[in-house]
Amino acid sequence: MDPIREAMLKRSRSAKLERRGRLISLFCIGLIVVIVAGIFYFVASKGLATFFSDGVNLWDFLTHSVWSPGVKDAHGSPQVGALPMIVGSFGVTFLSAIIATPFAVGAAVFMTEISPKVGRKILQPVIELLVGIPSVVYGFIGLSVVVPFIRSIFGGTGFGILAGTFVLFVMILPTVTSMAVDALRAVPSHYRSASLALGATRWQTTWRVVLRAATPGILTGIVFGMARAFGEALAVQMVIGNAALLPNNLVSPASTLTSVLTSGIGNTVMGSLENNALWSLALLLLLMSLFFNIMIRWIGKKGELK
């Protein structure tokens, strides 16, 4: 019989390996799905217990501003108002993103459009280094430099949303910058040629053509930075002051969802209301990061259509 025909009709080693590879990758993805689903289930079941078994009103949780889960109010319901933390978290996230965006875009334009050589050789490694610095280092610098600086200017303790914003700004700057750089590099060079050949200056080309084309990528970078800022716990906790009070200015001690979680989780008993209330904060964090994820995908999709 024809040996080639025989070989074709036999399952070769590569076909068997391929089947095995497919099984292994299926198993890996299955494991990841199970872990993610497990985390969601666990956090949700604990976090929802506050509302379903301890009888806390969801609306009160989101809008009341007194956080002392151990103490009951005049009507006998526990005081778990998360508004101070929600305001704190969103405050530091948005403020740091607003400050970081112009710096990141400016740096990215310099690195890709103005001086690509210096950008690639010197700035890129610096930024990659900054991404890798552990957050406790940022927090420590914030604590020993930023907080005293704010104290000397505004008085008070120096702890607060302003200090948190500043630390987060420095932390997310490299993330947003490097994603903006990727977005700008991905703009095809014939866009630039087309614009320059029409007599546009380099500045006009960058502003009207390149940045316009890179907008979805840059927005994605900003949202990534915001997701990181929203979820950062340690560095923020070190400089924000950790007072679960509704902040009425940027330089008085405040708190975020994450800072209350990290400082409180070790001091409560599993299953108690105090503990469940913290899980509710965790659930809120999880939902927010889900939201950031959806935003990123949505922006990506929008950008594709154009």
Partner: protein, 269 residues
């Protein structure tokens, strides 16, 4: 442009006693999702001949060619029905090992696509995957395939330069050398010269002409002069069907179908 009848078809007969058929499709249909792109094409391809597939863009030439070595398997939602007979086996069936089959039915694409590796490593890629590690044998394979692809004289002094450093025509001949390193029976080429300048095009054409002593070649081309110059048989595709299939000479001088006549005389397409 006219609408031509899809029932007006001429497919030439082969004398199976004297003409050996290397591969043959039987009622081949290709579906992209619900959209049927190839509507039942039955074509035999004679061994050691060059067969051209011509036709306007979107007429299904690439789709047909890709299904012969089952490259369409890789596209999600694609379904191929019908038979592809090769060595008395229907290779369009699940019990055929497609990796083994592709050893014998090689393919070259429109854009030269050398790997970012040396010329030597480009050519030994497939032999090594199939377990050939004897240095001397690999050296021989590299030399033979580069010679067959008419590239040996230009690169023999530095086989370790990157495949990406070659010019378009050289890169395409490297891709041909890479495809024939495994000594396949059949070579499928999808517009291999359309991204090349005229001089590179003619070197690739010469290469193909010398290769047909050892390989059965099926080539999609947009260039009718090219089809006329190099091929023995030509199939004209229109709207997902092969309307006419005959000796190249006849297709270009005395086509039997109106659509073919209009196409080869430049009245549409």
């Amino acid at each position: 442009m006219d609408n031509y009848s899809l029932d007006d078809i001429f497919i030439r007969d082969f004398d199976r006693k004297t003409q050996e058929i290397a591969v043959e499709t039987e009622d081949l249909r290709v579906f992209y999702g619900d959209n049927e792109a190839i509507h039942g094409v039955s074509l035999p391809f004679e061994r050691y001949k060059i067969t051209s597939l011509i036709g306007a863009s979107g007429s299904g030439k690439s789709t047909f060619l890709r299904s012969i070595n089952r490259m369409n398997d890789n596209i999600d939602g694609t379904r191929v029905t019908g038979k592809i007979m090769y060595r008395d086996v229907d290779i369009n069936s699940d019990n055929v090992d497609i990796y083994e089959m592709r050893k014998h039915i090689g393919m070259v694409f429109q854009r030269p696509n050398p790997f970012a590796k040396s010329i030597y490593d480009n050519i030994t890629f497939a032999p090594k995957r199939f377990g050939e590690h004897d240095k001397q044998k690999l050296d021989e394979m590299v030399e033979t395939s580069l010679k067959q692809a008419a590239l040996w004289d230009q690169v023999k002094d530095d086989l370790h330069q990157s495949g990406l450093s070659l010019s378009g025509g050289q890169a395409q001949r490297l891709c041909i050398a890479r495809a024939i390193a495994m000594q396949p029976d059949i070579l499928l080429l999808d517009e291999p010269a359309s991204a090349l300048d005229p001089i590179s095009t003619s070197t690739v054409e010469e290469t193909l002409m010398t290769l047909k002593d050892q390989y059965t070649i099926i080539i999609v081309t947009h260039n009718m002069q090219q089809a006329a110059r190099i091929s023995d048989y030509t199939a004209f595709f229109y709207s997902g069907k092969a309307l006419e299939y005959d000796e190249t000479r006849k297709i270009f001088t005395r086509p039997k179908i109106k659509a073919t006549e209009d196409y080869v005389s430049g009245h549409f397409g």
